[in-house]
Symmetry: C2
Subunit: 240 residues, 2 copies
DNA sequence: TCCTAAGATTGGCATAGACCAATCGCAGTG
DNA sequence: CACTGCGATTGGTCTATGCCAATCTTAGGA
């Protein structure tokens, strides 16, 4: 994938190539030799082996479980992200989406949230925190802030099946346009726990601001996606 | 940024927090203590210090130069990506874009390129490889493939100022819609050389397929963006 | 004044080894 | 037969150390 050539390739990088060759064609889930075995086989230290393997894990080529071993990872899932909801996006592609509700409360907006939603600091907002799953595996940690308090929100959310559906069908709030900001980040302890990934794993952090047809902000969301297991597709047509 | 909490925080992660506090409020470019000094100050090994600093570099908070030192990095640049060209995208925000032409040739399509462009394998394609700069700093490595051979392409490209402008004005090819695929990757030796980043740095790899109004592919591009210095914004309006 | 060479400093790469933590298999026990 | 507990295995973290490579400073010489 990356442009090759070698202005002095470090040893751990060469090892990555070796291991890639080793796993080419193997079934996902197949265990590869232990770190100690690889160190001996390639006449190097376990530290160097670990650096090579760590990068392959970060790239989504390998996975590992402490006490168990290191194995070939399944290929990345492609997730099409449109201006519709996460659930619809996933179902469109025949993927089974799911959500775990972590928290749902009404609180006062801090300065960051209020600034994005165009509210006064301290204004009432609804905070919705969820883990998003696709095909049973955790894909993203998502925190959404909505202006004000929504009556019977929890049950309506469950009934409608998705946030955007609930907003539109129950509260008459329609999302007309969204603005996504995408950047990279590395997993910290919190992400490790919530997404079941390892420390330092690359993440895609997406901030989304959704507005109604009249330009009023209706949602501000921070989503943390696993970078090792997923890729995103966005389609844009002319005449926008 | 990342959800905090600590299901057992490793030492190097605590060190990251310490260093972040250390650099809070410092001007970009300010040198921080050397790795050996930090190791002694926090009673740890240089290896651990390096792991902490490496992640901060990957996150775009610090930069480092061998033989010189480690310094506070300037904040990320926000780049708005639309379906127009790189140059227009940048200029829209008052940023100064630039390009370095690395290669421009006519060649035969391999199976990957031909598949995306809907051509037969071995068909003639134009390959355009460039480094994209914003405010003088390298942002992306971009390789674009276009079907067929374009007459006087190099001079027309220079004259028009951007690829999309040249296609539209000179060749009458208009891009009607694009499909971007975004995923993460880690920098290898080639990326290090071309973008001036360090090994293992997080990258955003974007594949773009552009089509004309009649649905004919007119461009397939692979762009490798630095994840430590830039973030992207995409806007989508309803009614697409 | 300008260039060069040497040395000190700083980050880059790699080694060897220690101990911890999670997992798995197996022997022993109820 | 099911359960428990121990030990071996495997990845996770950290230390201590060495040498290499790039940079900067300084002293010396043309």
């Amino acid at each position: 994938m990356s442009p090759e050539a070698a202005p002095a390739a470090p040893k751990y990088y060469l090892l990555k190539t070796e291991v890639l060759a080793l796993i080419a064609g193997l079934q996902p889930g197949t265990l590869i030799p232990t770190e100690r075995a690889l160190a001996e086989k390639y006449s190097t230290s376990r530290t160097t082996v670990r650096q090579a393997i760590s990068e392959l894990v970060a790239e989504g080529r390998l996975g590992r479980i402490q006490g168990h071993g290191t194995f070939v990872a399944p290929p990345k899932v492609t997730h099409v992200r449109q201006l519709t909801s996460f659930s619809d996006d996933a179902r469109t592609q025949g993927l089974r989406p799911a959500s775990t509700l972590i928290a749902l409360d009404v609180m006062k907006a801090d300065n960051v949230v209020s600034a994005h939603l165009g509210l006064d600091e301290g204004a009432q907002v609804t905070r919705l925190e969820r883990i998003r799953l696709i095909e049973g595996e955790p894909l993203a940690h998502e925190v959404a802030w909505l202006p004000g308090k929504l009556a019977r929100f929890k049950s309506n959310l469950t009934k409608a099946g998705s946030l955007y559906a609930a907003l539109a069908d129950v509260y008459g709030i329609r999302v007309a346009d969204v603005e996504d900001t995408v950047e990279t980040a590395l997993a910290g302890p919190g992400d490790v726990q919530l997404l079941g990934i390892e420390m330092g794993a690359p993440l895609l952090v997406v901030h989304r601001l959704a507005r109604s047809a009249t330009g009023v902000p209706v949602e501000w969301t921070r989503s943390t996606f696993r970078g090792d297991r997923f890729r995103f597709v966005s389609r844009v047509k002319s005449g926008e």
